[in-house]
Amino acid sequence: MVRFFNALGAPLLSFIQYLGELVMLATDTFRSIFTHKLRWKLFLNQVVEVGLLSQLVVIITGAFTGAVFSAQTFFQFNKLGMGSAVGAVVSVSLCRELAPVLTALMVAGRVGAAMSAEIGTMKVTEQIDALRALAVYPVDYLVVPRALAMMISMPLLVAECIAVGIAAGYLVAIFMLDINGTYYMANMVRWTRSRDIIMGLSKAFCFGILIVFISCQKGLTTHEGAVGVGRATTEAVVNASLAVLICNFFLTMMFNIIYPAGYQ
């Protein structure tokens, strides 16, 4: 038993230390956002990098998720004569779960990996030391623009994913599954509430924060050259994806208390 706890000790301590580093980085970043001048050029570059250049990925993710979800829901609901309820199910599911989670996973893979690799490369080539030596605090210069860009871009990307998913689901339902468009729309509008959209966008904001801090922390603590950069990038994507999935459960439970599903 003692041996078991001894074996558990080191990984547990290192996990707690990792969480501590994440919290410290987040605290430092938020303090810097409110107390230091924003580098607008870097921030706008990151908005382009995180938001604009993720368009294609998010549109394809949203479109095919909406399309396949519409079809699968129809195949089940049609047996019960509830084909026209497909629109409501697709819409609410996209708003509350699918769009935030899938967009976050795609962004973690595309943007989180890039952030971690870029900052990690800067770390191992002494560029971060050079920033510090030039009296520039790396968190101000590297993390703040990325964090702000992520906080703004993620809700917009998720909103886009929801819209595209609903549109794709509608097209599949109307043109491929022969569902009555009027009933489809009426049910969708009736059952999709503003709280569903708020929940999706709030989740997007939280996921954006998770991805940016996990990725930047991995980059800032990279060591051991090219191998280290590769390892940091992989760990950033894996950790961010796991964090999104785990936090999604707790956020769902929490938001369900604030905005109960199906409540009229």
Partner: protein
């Protein structure tokens, strides 16, 4: 917390040269362990304003580690460092900002920002200090490139520069805001003798033109003799010797003789 700098007699080791002027940098009992290896075991050193000190020693002996401590890039396990009388140990990153404006550093590989052109790299410290006028920025960058004998290279990216050019650009970036002191980490490492000589001349010229204090970490003895007013020999984590180039060459100490002659007889392996 600001502490008084050590008076000259605090540094009691006989090999330390002391003078009465206020030191630009003073290091006392600096200790650093990385992993299980004790890199610095109580370094004592004093660098006067305006002088050029070369720190020599074997590869992996802790010279670069010592240099990074002097600008607060590494935290020691023990000891103190004063920059112009201000103890930098225990300062946080933001407090160190003011110190780092007084002390520039040239990294071994240049550490240029690889997403920026030469011009943007050199202008970076000025932009960060709030200078926005493109005319002023361009003229200051051009002046620096002229000092570095690199006119017309503004638009090049770091990846297209040779090792020597990278070091020159790194140096231009380090000194564009006219720091009081410049730290050079192996400025001639990996360069051919002609380029290495041009870097040595550059270090001398900068000292003469701007009166900067210089600390040059090197294991290139020619470079040390060319640029240094004083040479410190770091051995097994401590300053084993300090003195002029002449004093070093005339030393009969076997360790110093072995190092100067590049003799490996297994001692210290």
């Amino acid at each position: 917390m600001i502490e008084a700098p050590p008076s000259p007699n605090v540094l009691t080791q006989p090999h330390l040269v002391s003078d009465n002027s206020s030191p630009m940098i003073a290091v006392r009992s600096l200790r650093k362990k990385i992993g299980q290896q004790e890199i610095l075991r109580g370094v004592d050193l004093k660098i006067s304003s305006g002088e050029t000190l070369a720190i020599i020693g074997r590869s992996g002996g802790g010279k670069s580690v010592l240099l990074k401590h002097m600008v607060g890039l590494m935290e020691p396990d023990g000891g103190k460092i004063w920059i112009q009388g201000q103890n930098i140990i225990g300062m946080n990153e933001r407090q160190l900002g003011a110190i780092r404006q007084k002390v520039g550093i040239l990294f071994q590989g240049g550490a240029l920002f690889d997403s920026m052109t030469v011009e943007d790299n050199i202008a970076f410290p000025l932009r960060e200090a709030g200078e926005r006028d493109p005319k002023i920025l361009r003229s200051k960058v051009a002046e620096m490139l002229e000092v570095m004998e690199m006119e017309g290279e503004e638009e090049k990216m770091p990846e297209s520069l040779s090792g020597g050019m990278k070091k020159r650009v790194g140096l231009a970036r380090a000194i564009i805001r006219r720091p009081l002191c410049v730290l050079y980490d192996e400025p001639t490492a990996g360069l051919d003798p002609v380029v290495a000589d041009s870097i040595n001349r550059l270090i001398r010229r900068l000292q003469q033109r701007f009166g900067m204090t210089s600390v040059v970490v090197t294991h290139d003895m020619k470079s040390a003799f060319d640029v240094a007013d004083r040479i410190a020999y770091l051995h097994e984590g401590q300053i084993y010797f300090t003195g002029t180039a002449n004093q070093l060459q005339q030393s009969t100490d076997p360790l110093i003789q072995d190092f100067l002659l590049g003799r490996s007889d297994g001692r210290g392996d």
